[in-house]
């Protein structure tokens, strides 16, 4: 059989497959009737074998290219992306996210230390010499913050101002967390850098405001959303460190192979952290600056911290878990 025979023999079937494909691509498989789908499947099979034959006989030929494109299009119809489901979201928040966090527990600990130690050191240093704070964080911002916390929150803010600040926190803080994670691609260095920098600035600012005598205002403001926000930044950093760790020491796999295996786990941690930051932004925008007395804020804040720690430590423990990807 010559090429011309091969084509004329099968061209009608290929045309038909293309027709059905156009239908499917426009409307989706759900809105196409079963008879057509059966025909589609049958045509897909024969075209796959046509492609295999074209490939063995004359690789690189335009017939091969043509068949390759149709088969790829048909293949895409067989593997649509999984649709979002509410149950899946619940499963993610109640089981998968905390489980994934615990799997990289050592990195979470490392990230927490990289964040908390610089924070504590900066805080101690600034408590000793307040003027140091001007070197550790932008001076104008520092004065603005001090002024803001000096006023306290007895009166609360207007609701619309709350919305403005919520928007600001979402934009700023979640962005910081994402950068904390993403720059881990540079062998973890970026994550280390961002964790330390944010720790130092946070510690310096907190201690500066406290030594200026507005400690109660500041800490009562920060305690509630801090439970979610600081934890989430540490988790994002931990995911970044994990990524860097795999690049430095991939074990018996290639660097990319090791990363590839771990990607879904990292994605779960980072998506969960994003969800936590969203919660944090809402608390930070609407509750933290409210007129509620500081004692209430401390009590609720403590409860939120307890909740976050309890959640990350215990949620999903009773569920049967697939074994983690093997690295060594």
């Amino acid at each position: 059989m010559t090429r011309q025979h091969f084509i004329s023999d099968r061209r009608a079937r290929w045309r038909r497959l293309e027709e059905i494909l156009i239908h499917l691509e426009r409307r989706g498989a759900k809105h196409v009737d079963d008879g057509l789908l059966d025909e589609f499947v049958a045509l897909y099979r024969t075209t796959c074998s046509d492609l295999a034959r074209a490939r063995t006989d004359a690789a690189g030929d335009d017939v091969e290219e043509f068949l390759n494109v149709i088969v790829a299009r048909a293949h895409k119809q067989f593997h649509p992306p999984d649709p979002p489901k509410l149950r899946r979201v619940a499963q993610f928040l109640l089981v998968e996210f905390p489980v994934s966090v615990r799997r990289i527990g050592r990195y979470v600990l490392a990230a927490a230390l990289l964040f908390v130690l610089p924070l504590a050191l900066a805080a101690l240093a600034v408590a000793d010499k307040p003027e140091l704070a001007y070197h550790l964080s932008p001076p104008e911002q520092l004065d603005l913050l001090t002024e803001a916390y000096a006023k306290g929150h007895e009166t609360g803010r207007g609701e619309s101002e709350d919305s403005l600040m919520t928007g600001y926190y979402i934009n700023n803080n979640i962005g910081i967390a994402f950068k904390c994670f993403a720059t881990g691609a540079f062998f973890g260095l970026g994550s280390v850098f961002f964790l330390i920098i944010n720790g130092v600035i946070g510690g310096a600012v907190g201690a500066f405001i406290a030594t200026a005598g507005h400690g109660v205002n500041f800490f009562s403001f920060i305690v509630g959303h801090g439970a979610f926000e600081l934890t989430a930044i540490v988790l994002a950093g931990a995911a970044g460190l994990r990524m860097g760790g795999l690049l430095i020491n991939p074990g018996r796999l290639s660097r990319l192979g090791a990363l590839r295996l771990e990607t879904p786990e990292l994605a779960k941690v980072i998506l969960g952290a994003a969800a936590m930051l969203l919660v944090a932004a809402l608390i930070e925008g609407f509750w933290s600056p409210s007129g509620a007395p500081p004692s209430y804020k401390f009590i609720l804040g403590a409860a939120l911290w307890a909740f976050v720690i309890f959640y990350l430590t215990f949620a999903g423990r009773s569920h049967p878990q697939p074994s983690p990807p093997e690295h060594r």
Binding site: M1, R3, A58, V71, T166, T263
Partner: protein, 259 residues
């Protein structure tokens, strides 16, 4: 056998993929420039969305609650920066409006659609690819990986492919009098598909070349693998055409029962 097409291999960016159901597919990888164009289109769309919603929100909240409007704006800017690519690529089978316009699509390296996790990873890692400015890291990484992938693609195990539409073509216009060329008398090496495709392409573009340039190119194409005598006698273009027809219609190929 060394032929004129050996060096072409490096220019063509294709990857072969074996799908879970054991079908061999090959994909054309998208290059830096087309991906950059797609990104620019998406930037324009993102900017327009922020601008239009911004106008709407600002007029709706007006002077009564300017902070509420600003708050909403910041959320929209955030969503457009961090969620636009992730959500659209996941929900629209690897396309974004920009990618769609350029015929590009994101797939996993085994050829199947991206899921939310992978879409999120590849797009959050833009923060690393963009470092320190203008996607310098991403472009460098793409330059040094054979499969044109930036950091986000490498970590998420994805790639960006070109979805070309191919049409079956008949033979291009060929010089006449090919029967005179007695190919059977000379040993013509068995051609690979790529070689045939190159000769085919040469004749398809023949009318773009001046007469001299065409014979010059044909001379290069016949160099090193076609008999010098036959080339000298019939001219390189005619011999190439004869080889093409011979390869296209040889009887041993395309065998197998038809259903």
């Amino acid at each position: 056998m060394a032929t004129a097409t050996d060096h072409v291999e490096n220019v063509e960016c294709r990857v072969a993929v074996e799908t879970p159901e054991q079908i061999q597919l090959s994909f054309n990888l998208a290059g830096i420039s087309s991906r950059m164009m797609a990104y620019l289109i998406d930037i324009v769309i993102r900017g327009t969305v922020v601008f239009v919603i911004g106008l709407f929100v600002m007029t709706a909240t007006g002077l009564a609650a300017p902070e509420l409007g600003m708050g909403l704006m910041l959320v929209i800017i955030f969503v457009m920066e961090w969620a636009y690519h992730t959500v659209i690529e996941w929900a629209w089978n690897g396309y974004t409006p920009g990618k769609r316009a350029l015929g590009l699509r994101v797939v996993r390296t085994n050829g199947v659609a991206v899921d939310l996790m992978r879409s999120a990873i590849r797009n959050l890692l833009r923060a690393a690819d963009i470092f320190p400015f203008a996607y310098a890291t991403g472009v460098l990484v793409m330059y040094f990986t054979k499969t044109e992938r930036r950091l986000g693609d490498l970590v998420a195990d994805t790639m960006v492919i070109r979805e070309d539409r191919i049409f079956l073509r008949d033979l291009p216009p060929l010089p006449s009098g090919l029967d005179e060329v007695p190919l059977a008398r000379y040993s013509i090496p068995r051609l690979r598909g790529r070689d045939i495709a190159l000769i085919d392409e040469f004749f398809r573009r023949h009318h773009y070349f001046t007469h001299d340039r065409a014979s010059e190119l044909a001379e290069i194409l016949t160099e090193a693998w076609l008999d010098r005598q036959v080339v000298a006698r019939f001219g390189p273009e005619k011999v190439l055409a004869a080889v093409l027809v011979h390869a296209r219609e040889r009887r041993t190929s395309w065998s197998g029962a038809s259903r």
